[in-house]
C-alpha cells in the first residue's frame, strides 16, 4: 500500500486522507520530515529545537489536513508552519540572540519597499526544497519523486491547455474510480466467498 501512495502527488494524497488516514499521514511525514527538519535546523542551529518544531507542525497537521484540502497546498502549509514555529522559538528563547540581532539590524536598516512583496513565499519554497540535497540518498529520492509528481499536474495542464483545476478534478475522478473498483471487489468477495 505504501508503495502505491508514494506515487501520488500531494493533492491526490490529501484527497485520500479520509479513507486511509494513517497511511496517508505517514507518507506525508516521510516525504517532508527531512527537508523541514534541515530547514529548521539551518535557522536555529539546534538539533533538539529543530526536531521539536517539525514535530509540532506534524501533530497539528492531523487536525488541519481537511482545511488544507480546501484552501491551500500541503507544501505551502508545512513550510509556513515551520517558519512560524521557528520564529516563535527565536522570540521565546534567549539562545537565539544572533538571530534576534540580525532581525533588529534588518528592521532598523531597511526602508520598506513594496516591490519585494510576494517574493518571500517563493524564496521560502525554493530554499526549503533545495535542502533535499543534504538528505541521505533514500530520503532524497522520496522527496524528489514527490516534487515531480506535484509538477505533473501543472505540466499536463500546460500541454493540454486546460486549467490546473480541471486536471485536479480528473485526477480526483480517477481516484474515486479506483476506490469504487476496490469496494466492488470487496462486495464480490463477500457475495462469493472462497470455496465457491
Amino acid at each position: 500500500m505504501e508503495k502505491e501512495l508514494s506515487t501520488l502527488s500531494d493533492l491526490a494524497l490529501v484527497e485520500l486522507f479520509k479513507s486511509q488516514p494513517e497511511q496517508v499521514y505517514k507518507e506525508i511525514f516521510d516525504r517532508y520530515w527531512g527537508v523541514l527538519f534541515l530547514h529548521a535546523y539551518r535557522m536555529l542551529r539546534n538539533e533538539a529545537d529543530a526536531k521539536d518544531a517539525v514535530q509540532e507542525v506534524f501533530i497539528s497537521l492531523w487536525e488541519k489536513i481537511e482545511n488544507i484540502r480546501l484552501h491551500s497546498s500541503l507544501s505551502a502549509y508545512l513550510y509556513t508552519s515551520v517558519r512560524n514555529r521557528v520564529l516563535n522559538l527565536i522570540s521565546k528563547k534567549n539562545t537565539y540572540q544572533s538571530q534576534l540581532n540580525t532581525l533588529q539590524d534588518f528592521v532598523s536598516n531597511t526602508v520598506h519597499f513594496p516591490a519585494y512583496h510576494g517574493l518571500q513565499e517563493k524564496q521560502l519554497v525554493e530554499a526549503i526544497e533545495q535542502e533535499c540535497r543534504n538528505l541521505p540518498p533514500k530520503m532524497r529520492r522520496v522527496f524528489e519523486l514527490s516534487r515531480k509528481l506535484n509538477l505533473s499536474h501543472k505540466e499536463i495542464a500546460e500541454k493540454l491547455q486546460i486549467s490546473d483545476k480541471t486536471v485536479k478534478k480528473q485526477v480526483n475522478n480517477a481516484i474515486r474510480l479506483i476506490k469504487l473498483k476496490v469496494s466492488y471487489s470487496i462486495y464480490i468477495f463477500l457475495l462469493f466467498p472462497a470455496g465457491l
Binding site: 526536531k51 534588518f106 518571500q120
Partner: protein
C-alpha cells in the same frame, strides 16, 4: 512625478511639491512600519515631524488651497523612542505569532526570514544520521496519532450502533403497525390543522376561537379538529409563537411545547421552542399563565415581565425577570438578542434570513450578546455590528456566513 525618498537628519521636514507623493520615508526614531501609515497622497503639503513628542504627527497647511489637517500617526508609545530596542523586536515577533501584525510588519519579518535563510544557505549542514532522527520523531508522534485514529473509529462505531438501534425500532414499529391496524381504523383518528411558516417568514393568523397567533420564521403549530369544542388545545412543534388569547372562562387555552404545557384563560404570551435551543422559554406580556412540566406535579405561575425557561432534556426550570417586549418584538421584524450566545443568535439569523452559518473556531459561538436591530437594518448591518462588538470578522460565501476571530 517625483517620488521623494528623503531621509531625515536634523531638519524635521519632509516637503513635497504639487503632484508629489511622499512615501517610504523613514522618520528618525519611528517604527519601521510607520512608512506604510505615512503614505500621504495630498498635494501641496508640508509635513512636519514632532521629534520630541511621544506621538509623532503630521500636518499639512501653509497652502491657501487646503485647510489645515492634522493626522496623528498611530504609533505605539513604547515602540517609537527606540526601534533598536530588543523588547520591540520580541514584541513584534510575538504579535506575528498571534497574527496581530500589520501587513507591512508581517511582510518585513518574512522578508528578513527569507534573506536570513539565503545567508545561512552557505553554511554546511553537520547533522549526522537524519534518518535516525526522523525515526525517533515518528516514534514519539505515533501514539498520539493512533489515539486520534481510534477516537475517530469509536465515534463511527457509535454511529453504527445507533443505526442498528434505529433499524430495530423501525422493524418493531412496522410489526406494531400491522398488528394493530384493525384497531386503529376502528377509532377515528384526530385530524389536525397545521399552521406553519417558512424560514424568513412571519405570519399573523386567527384561530377558530378568535385567538390571534403570530408565528415566527420556521414555526409549526397544530390543533385538532376538536379545537374549541370542549377545550382549546394546541401543539407547538417547533419555532416561536405569540398568542393573544381570546378570553373564554370555561374553555382553557393550552399549548404543549416539548415537555411543557402552558394553560391560560385569556392572556398575551410568547413561547419560544426552536429546535436549536436547549430550553423552551415562556414569557408573559399580559395576564397570567400556568405552566406544568411533564413528569412533575406542580405547575408554575408566570406573571407579566417574567420568563420561565424549561430545560428540554431534564425539565429543570428557571424563572427570571425580563422585559416582555424584548421577547415579542420579533413580530415587528425586530431582531432582539437578550444575553444570548452567538451560536443561538446565528440560528435566529439563519431562520430570519434563510442563510447558513458556521464558526471557524467553536469558541466564537460561546460569545454572548445583547443587542437589538431595527427592520431597516440589513443583514450586513447586523453582522458588522456583532463583529465590531465581539472583535470578530465574517465573510459571506455561497449563502453561508463564516465567522472567525479578528486577525
Amino acid at each position: 512625478m517625483n517620488r521623494s525618498h528623503g531621509s531625515l537628519t536634523d531638519s524635521n521636514f519632509i516637503q513635497t511639491t504639487r503632484g508629489d507623493k511622499c512615501q517610504g520615508n523613514r522618520l528618525p526614531g519611528c517604527v519601521p512600519h510607520a512608512p506604510s501609515h505615512l503614505t500621504y497622497s495630498g498635494t501641496n503639503s508640508f509635513l512636519e515631524y514632532g521629534r520630541k513628542e511621544q506621538r509623532s504627527f503630521l500636518y499639512s497647511s501653509d497652502f491657501p488651497l487646503f485647510s489645515t489637517t492634522i493626522l496623528f500617526l498611530n504609533c505605539h508609545k513604547n515602540v517609537i523612542p527606540n526601534f533598536m530596542d530588543e523588547q520591540y523586536i520580541l514584541d513584534l515577533l510575538k504579535r506575528y505569532g498571534a497574527g496581530q501584525c500589520s501587513d507591512a510588519e508581517k511582510k518585513m519579518i518574512e522578508q528578513w526570514y527569507a534573506e536570513e535563510l539565503g545567508m545561512r544557505k552557505k553554511d554546511a549542514i553537520d547533522v549526522e544520521n537524519i534518518e535516525a532522527l526522523q525515526e525517533g520523531s515518528w516514534k514519539s508522534i505515533q501514539p498520539d496519532i493512533r489515539k486520534k485514529i481510534n477516537e475517530g473509529k469509536r465515534s463511527y462505531r457509535r454511529l453504527k450502533l445507533w443505526m442498528v438501534a434505529a433499524t430495530v425500532l423501525l422493524v418493531l414499529g412496522n410489526i406494531w403497525f400491522w398488528t394493530n391496524r384493525r384497531e386503529a381504523t376502528a377509532i377515528p383518528a384526530l385530524q389536525y390543522v397545521l399552521l406553519q411558516t417558512a424560514k424568513g417568514e412571519v405570519k399573523e393568523m386567527q384561530l377558530p376561537d378568535g385567538t390571534i397567533v403570530w408565528l415566527n420564521a420556521g414555526t409549526v403549530i397544530r390543533y385538532s379538529d376538536q379545537f374549541d369544542k370542549q377545550s382549546r388545545e394546541l401543539i407547538l412543534d417547533g419555532g416561536e409563537a405569540y398568542f393573544n388569547v381570546a378570553h373564554k372562562k370555561d374553555k382553557p387555552f393550552m399549548v404543549t411545547a416539548g415537555k411543557t404545557r402552558t394553560t391560560v384563560l385569556g392572556t398575551v404570551f410568547n413561547i419560544r421552542a426552536y429546535d436549536y435551543m436547549d430550553q423552551v422559554q415562556i414569557s408573559v406580556e399580559k395576564g397570567k399563565v400556568g405552566v406544568s412540566i411533564e413528569g412533575k406535579d406542580t405547575a408554575v405561575k408566570i406573571l407579566p415581565n417574567e420568563q420561565l425557561s424549561v430545560d428540554k432534556a431534564e425539565g429543570r426550570i428557571h424563572k427570571s425577570d425580563i422585559r416582555s417586549a424584548d421577547f415579542t418584538s420579533w413580530r415587528l421584524g425586530i431582531l432582539q438578542f437578550n444575553d444570548e450566545a452567538l451560536s443561538t443568535i446565528t440560528k435566529m439569523i439563519e431562520y430570519k434570513y434563510e442563510i447558513k452559518s458556521r464558526f471557524e473556531n467553536k469558541n466564537i459561538g460561546k460569545l454572548r450578546f445583547t443587542a437589538g436591530f431595527k427592520t431597516t437594518d440589513t443583514l450586513e448591518d447586523i453582522l458588522d455590528d456583532l463583529c465590531i462588538a465581539g472583535n470578530l470578522q465574517y465573510k459571506l460565501q455561497d449563502n453561508e456566513i463564516i465567522f472567525s476571530f479578528n486577525k
